[in-house]
């Protein structure tokens, strides 16, 4: 089943406790980990309903996750610390 904008926003905010900044045309989500804020995602106000593969891929890429890993992160099946660890490791690889 396709992820929706609402799924992602709900996942970031309610399940992950992220903070959102929606003052511009784009909404940024920040996750606080060990006292530092990390940008974990961006949605555009123009995005509606179901996200297409490209949009999910972009959200996953922001965290250096595969699409399935990103879905697991949104579903809370992938821990915050685990995601940060993957993120930092893969970012250093690229």
């Amino acid at each position: 089943m396709a992820l929706t904008v609402r799924d992602v926003e709900h996942g970031f905010l309610r399940k992950r406790g992220a903070e959102k900044d929606e003052e511009g045309d784009h909404v940024y989500f920040y996750l606080t980990h060990e006292g530092s804020q990390y940008t974990i995602g961006k949605l555009s106000h123009s995005w509606r309903g179901d996200l297409n593969d490209t949009q999910v891929g972009m959200l996953a890429h922001k965290l250096r996750l595969q699409k399935r890993e990103f879905e697991r992160f949104i579903e809370c099946k992938l821990g915050k610390a685990q995601v940060i660890e993957i993120w930092e490791r893969r970012r250093n690889e690229t």
Partner: protein, 138 residues
Amino acid sequence: MALTLETVNTGVSEKSSYGKLLRPNDFLLPPSIPNWTDDIVEAFSVQVVTFHQKTPIPDSGLSLKYALIAEIRATRDGYVLRSGDLDEEAFGLTREEAYLGFLTSLRDRYNSLERREASLSHQDHLVLERLQGLLAKE
């Protein structure tokens, strides 16, 4: 499909060794073509784009201090414009929409990061520094 084909053809020289794989007729085959054709289309649909120095950022009074190189990728859904250095990307159904989305993303990311500068992670702080170096008040 036409847009993707156009993108592929502009990215591949007729003299390219890949020319044989990317002839227009190859894309008119029935849906039974193997999946790897999609991968080839995707691989060759990435192009480099340059935003010129002094490009204005919409609704911000900001512009680019220097030219910015990014990549644009055609997908089945539209276009993705990305800068790895700035850790920023934008999606659009058209190229123009992706360009505009990218520029407004730079503005919004810059403003958003500045608002929380004191608590940013190291990586986000680097992005903010790069944006501060890139964007100038007009």
